[in-house]
């Protein structure tokens, strides 16, 4: 798997005139990598993910997966949103099966895959439950299982833990890290939580706002076997402060102008 974003611009037409959301974005994700893009609101990070998912088209530039240009949404890119992610009238099992159903997979194959991924996310016993009976954290795990059941080449996560409380968030971060190590999947995640990005990612793109650009690419060398304790190491804090300075420095300099 090789995701390549090259010279991407995105401009929105608004009543106040054109708004440049993304300017000259170049980034990539390789097989088995966990990459995060961090930025304040207005940095266009969600726009970038939507372009990669094929839900929007760039004004200029190209995005390719394994050399194939993206022309729309596709099953090779699984997406998990922050909210409203599950179909409320379907059981957990039916939610996880739904992607395969849309593609016309047999009932048996669907059930088999759904069971497998429900086990992966540890929710087998809730397969018959409705989403509203699940906690927010469990709902996001179902959404991840549903995306994985489609066997995407890359998982795109748009602030998946943004609406959760701190404790649940930390549990799910560890859960996602374990999942990534176990399955060897490629992940591109968008977040505004710097600590979350440093804890999870092997590489981080720091984005600045208005227009959204990639300010810096930082390789996080904390090993891939990370546990909560890593958050207490000086190295972890060093990374966090570096990134915070980048985000802050940019907004301060614009404030003084």
């Amino acid at each position: 798997m090789h995701l390549e974003v090259s010279k991407v611009h995105k401009q929105f037409e608004t009543p106040q005139g054109p708004l440049v959301a993304l300017k000259d974005i170049n980034c990539h994700v390789e097989t088995g990598e966990f990459v995060c893009a961090v930025g304040a609101s207005g940095s266009g990070k969600s726009t970038l993910l939507r372009l990669i998912a094929g839900l929007d088209m760039p004004t200029a530039g190209t995005i390719t997966v394994d050399g194939e240009p993206i022309i729309g949404p596709g099953v090779d890119r699984g997406m998990v949103f922050q909210r409203y992610t599950l179909y409320p009238w379907m059981t957990v099992q039916e939610n996880v099966e739904f992607g395969l159903k849309l593609q016309g997979a047999s009932k048996l194959a669907r059930r088999e895959q759904a069971s497998r991924y429900l086990e992966v996310v540890g929710l087998t016993q809730f397969s018959k439950a409705l989403p509203k009976e699940l906690s927010g954290g469990m709902q996001q795990r179902v959404a991840i299982a549903r995306a994985l059941a489609n066997h995407p080449k890359i998982l795109l996560l748009d602030e998946p833990f943004g609406a959760l409380d701190v404790q649940t968030k930390e549990t799910l971060q560890q859960f996602l890290l374990d999942l990534w190590q176990r399955l060897g999947i490629s992940i591109l995640m968008i977040t505004h939580d710097v600590g979350e990005a440093v804890f999870l990612a092997q590489r981080i793109y720091v984005m600045s706002a208005r227009p959204g650009t990639i300010q810096k690419e930082i390789v996080i060398e904390l090993g891939s076997e990370r546990a909560y304790a890593v958050r207490r190491t000086p190295k972890f804090h060093h990374y966090c402060e570096d990134i915070m300075d980048l985000l802050r420095g940019r907004s301060e300099s614009t404030a003084t102008v």
């Binding site: 099953v75 009238w89 849309l102 593609q103």
Partner: protein, 242 residues
């Protein structure tokens, strides 16, 4: 629940039984019960009820059959919405009973104008309310479906439609009450039977007890229809019921 029915009922008993209000204007509950028995024995009550009920059902179902797909289509496709919304927006403010004379001229005095009145009176509200429900389908749910490999047709039939089913049932409940109103309007103006016609005749003979009896029957049937739609909601849309 018990109180909200019991208090007005007691008040009615007091006012009528002690002749505080002239019983010719406010009949006693006993008189109303006797009127109900009389209407039943004379063989009016059941056919009248069935006629009214049949007209409501026909007009209402026809309106639903048109409004559900039309409302969903208008909610889902901007082009269809742009085409239909201005028209429906104007027509829905024309009071349906005002169409009755036209309907009588066009369709005669049979069942057709009565069913047509109910159809016209509920179609536009049904359509617009269902259209609005479609607008509230979360964008994320639709986009998730595309990223899971769904096409437009699948989004329409397997995501948008099931999502709005509870709203459709709610809409039907609201408009069921409207069609129950309209059937009486139609029958008051031109009919040989039906509960509305019975009220009309009772007025001519100053039988307030019969009018009360018919009103109670109308209320009870409306209430039962509402309860059954609520039950339908609980059975088919467990996910949307608190």
């Amino acid at each position: 629940m018990v109180l909200s029915v019991a208090v007005p009922f007691l008040l009615w008993c007091l006012l009528s039984e002690f002749s505080i209000v002239d019983p010719r204007f406010l009949p006693t509950p006993t008189m109303v019960w006797q009127a109900l028995e009389r209407l039943w024995q004379e063989g009016y009550l059941l056919p009248d009820t069935l006629f009214s009920f049949g007209r409501v059902l026909a007009g209402f179902l026809l309106a639903a059959i048109v409004a559900i797909p039309l409302g969903i289509a208008m909610g889902a496709f901007a082009s269809i919405r742009a085409l239909m919304e201005p028209l429906i927006g104007i027509v829905r403010y024309m009071p349906a009973p005002a169409f009755t004379p036209l309907l009588l001229i066009y369709l005669g005095v049979g069942e057709a104008p009565k069913i047509a009145l109910i159809f016209i009176g509920t179609l536009f509200f049904n359509t617009l309310m269902i259209m609005d429900a479609v607008k509230f389908v979360p964008k994320e749910l639709i986009e998730t479906t595309y990223t899971l490999g769904g096409n437009r047709r699948q989004v329409l039939f397997q995501v948008i439609t099931p999502y709005v089913v509870p709203s459709i049932i709610d809409t039907l409940r609201v408009n069921m009450a409207a069609s129950w109103n309209l059937v009486v309007v139609a029958e008051l103006l031109a009919a040989d039977d039906g509960l509305g016609k019975r009220i009309q005749l009772a007025r001519q003979f100053f039988q307030t007890d019969s009018i009360f009896a018919c009103l109670i029957v109308l209320g009870l049937i409306g209430f039962l229809l509402d309860l059954s739609l609520q039950a339908l909601m609980r059975v088919t849309c467990k996910w949307a019921v608190k």
